[in-house]
């Protein structure tokens, strides 16, 4: 049932769009994959942007979260204080998950569309027929041309020139993780993320060995677009590139003094007071629009 809905609403339109692009772009399926990936990522950019901003905001309040973790031993109290910080900063701890979850089916459909349209075997072409609309412009486009800049898009990444694509998959995935802002609450988590930054590219390069080269082309373009989005949102200090879409990062709070580290109602009141002082006219890290939404 879910599979049928996924196919009807996402997969089939994407496959047909891919075939249309192929026909428009001189029958070059490689160009169609590139254009298709860029267009779909641009269409879902508002969601991506929200996710990136949420991640950035989460990262901004991490020092305060760490401070609370150190300060309060009672888990219930600690949780209350953390939630308070989230509220004051206008950050939803699940804020980055929502856009990500919404994007996930789109990304899966994007990947599946490329894989299906490639029709690596006669059986695959037969199966593709069930996904195509009956418009003659689309029907006349199949089978799609499998050669692109000297590569057979249907061949496995492990064969011949496909190795270049495997290396590119690894490199671009690594570059994407390096330009991504991560949220780590402690050193252990940070160490794990560092390890993932190296494991992910290796793993995807390994998978690319057995995937058709057309899928590797999609993956590389997808990663490059991801890198571009990351740089546009977070900037790239190494090259002195400023972010274009600036996130409202909550201002870091002054570290707690030893005297305020004591627990109790008085200390908590002081905490809240300090947090209030840090707010802007609209509230910390909050826009007028967000404030309007909060009103009953």
């Amino acid at each position: 049932m879910i599979g049928d809905i996924f196919t009807l609403i996402l997969l089939n339109p994407m496959i047909n769009f891919l075939v249309i692009l192929n026909n428009v772009l001189f029958g070059s399926f490689g160009l169609a994959i590139i254009a298709f990936t860029i267009i779909i990522r641009l269409v879902t950019f508002p969601l991506t942007l929200r996710q990136l901003h949420s991640t950035r905001s989460m990262q901004g309040i991490q020092p305060r979260i760490q401070e609370i973790n150190k300060k309060f031993s009672d888990p219930k109290r600690r949780q209350e204080e953390i939630m308070k910080v989230y509220r004051e900063a206008g950050v939803n701890p699940l804020g980055c998950l929502g856009p990500m979850i919404l994007q996930f089916p789109v990304l899966i459909a994007l990947y599946s569309a490329v894989r299906l349209a490639l029709a690596t075997s006669p059986e695959s072409l037969e199966r593709l027929s069930g996904h195509l609309y009956s418009w003659s412009f689309i029907q006349h486009g199949v089978p799609l041309q499998e050669h692109f800049i000297g590569m057979d898009l249907r061949a496995n990444g492990g064969s011949g020139i496909g190795i270049v694509m495997v290396v590119l998959v690894g490199l671009t995935t690594w570059a994407q993780t390096k330009t991504t802002v991560t949220v780590a609450a402690d050193d252990k988590a940070r160490a794990q993320q560092q390890m993932m930054a190296y494991m992910m590219p290796l793993m995807f390069a390994f998978f690319a060995l057995s995937f058709p080269i057309g899928v590797a082309v999609y993956w590389v373009v997808n990663s490059i677009v991801g890198i571009a989005f990351n740089i546009l949102t977070y900037g790239f200090p190494l090259l002195k590139i400023e972010p274009v879409f600036k996130a409202r990062v909550p201002a870091p709070r002054t570290p707690a003094t030893p005297s305020t580290a004591a627990t109790g109602p008085t200390a908590a009141a002081v905490d809240v007071q300090t947090a209030r002082e840090l707010r802007t006219a609209n509230g910390l890290g909050r826009s007028k629009r967000q404030n309007r939404r909060r009103r009953p």
Binding site: Y111, S121, P122, E126, S136, Q139, Q192, M199, F204
Partner: protein, 381 residues
């Protein structure tokens, strides 16, 4: 960093990647080559990686006599067939066939050992199978080249253009050698006729359709059957490539046709079957839906007497009346046997055999409208 905790992330990563890749499974090549029968032997694709020869006894029982490649033979160690899409062709002492990625083979029909093999010197995969005639073997590739070999030794035929004759978008249909002409269909929608001697064109210009042509058959001395993925079926004149009839089906037609009394019987991917009178271009009877939309008809049917026997992908075998398309007996579902994609074959006794993608054969009797399995002793070992 504590190593165990870090390693705990790995299975999660692998699992998510596997889930991601499994979201849409892509079908691997399985092949749909139909079996070849002689009076006392069967040659068929036993599995996607093997072709077998079996002796056929008078009582109808069959026993496997050889399999190729043979896992017990070191010489076959590096041979991978990876699906056979065209029917094996028996000519003289040899069985000729092509495999998707393994090339073209000539095997001794008694022993199953290679007489010759061509695995290099061409680019692309072989989908359509081979055609044998006039001492030559023809095959086309997905890269669009049509090659002609000497039947005796598999060497490129003298006079045929070196590197083959190129057609756009690939040649998926088996070329047809008929007399001194070879007919070729291409996935760019063209059909052409070339001289066997030197590859020069015999028609003034090739026929051109707007959709890919993945199958090509000779109907009779004057006509070709050229179904297209644009849902049209073209009946072409063999003499000049002119269109005798242009018929529109409900969906893709990617299969052969049975032909009797100027009528072509075929099915499409919507599960409809047709009886097309090629002299008038009209339906002999209205098209009939065999099952639901998923029961595509890929396999060419067979006409025996007054019965036309179809197999669909579900897989089910259907008996229809040639006269009006009415059902003769209930449809016969073939359980747990894969799908029927290979063309049906008529035996000397008038029964019709379907080979499924699981390498099982089913024998349909048009007279009694019954189906029994044709088991081959020793198969699968």
């Amino acid at each position: 960093m504590k190593l165990p905790r870090a390693l705990a992330v790995l299975p999660l990563l692998v699992l998510s990647a596997l889930l991601f890749s499994a979201c849409v499974s892509v079908e691997n090549p399985q092949g749909w080559g139909s079996p070849a029968f002689t009076s006392n032997a069967i040659y068929y694709q036993e599995s996607k990686d093997h072709i077998s020869g079996a002796t056929l006894a008078a009582d109808g029982s069959a026993s496997r006599s050889w399999v190729f490649p043979d896992k017990n033979n070191p010489a076959d160690k590096d041979i991978q067939l990876k699906a056979i899409y065209g029917a094996p062709i028996v000519d003289g002492d040899a069985v000729y066939f092509s495999s998707f990625t393994g090339g073209v083979f000539a095997l001794n029909k008694e022993t199953g050992r290679p007489v010759w093999r061509l695995s290099t010197g061409f680019s692309g995969d072989v989908v359509g199978g081979v055609s044998v005639g006039g001492g030559k073997v023809a095959f086309g590739t997905t890269d669009g080249d049509v090659h002609l070999l000497d039947e005796k030794d598999g060497k490129p035929s003298v006079g045929w253009p070196a590197g083959g004759v190129h057609f756009g978008k690939g040649v998926w249909a088996a070329p047809i050698i008929a007399g001194d002409v070879v007919y070729i269909a291409s996935m760019d929608g063209t059909v052409d006729a070339l001289k066997l001697a030197d590859g020069s064109r015999t028609w003034a210009k090739p026929f051109s359709a707007s959709g890919a042509i993945a199958e090509l058959r000779v109907l009779d001395d004057q006509h070709l059957f050229a179904p297209s993925l644009n849902k049209h079926v073209y009946i072409l004149n063999r003499a000049d490539g002119g269109v005798a009839q242009d018929f529109r089906a409900n969906d893709w037609v990617w299969g052969g046709a049975a032909f009797k009394d100027n009528t072509a019987y075929f099915g499409d991917f919507s599960g409809h079957v047709y009886a097309l009178d090629i002299t008038t271009g009209k339906d002999k009877w209205p098209s009939i839906a065999l099952g639901d939309d998923r029961d595509r008809v890929k396999a060419a049917p067979q006409v025996v007497g007054d019965v036309v026997v179809f197999g669909d992908r579900s897989p089910t075998i259907h008996f229809l009346s040639v006269a009006d398309g009415s059902r003769l007996g209930p449809p016969f579902p073939v359980v747990k046997a894969g799908t029927i994609r290979a063309d049906a074959v008529t035996l000397q006794d008038g029964s019709v055999v379907f080979l499924t993608t699981n390498g099982r054969m089913f024998k349909a009797d048009p007279k009694t409208q019954t189906v029994v399995e044709l088991s081959v002793n020793g198969a699968g070992k």
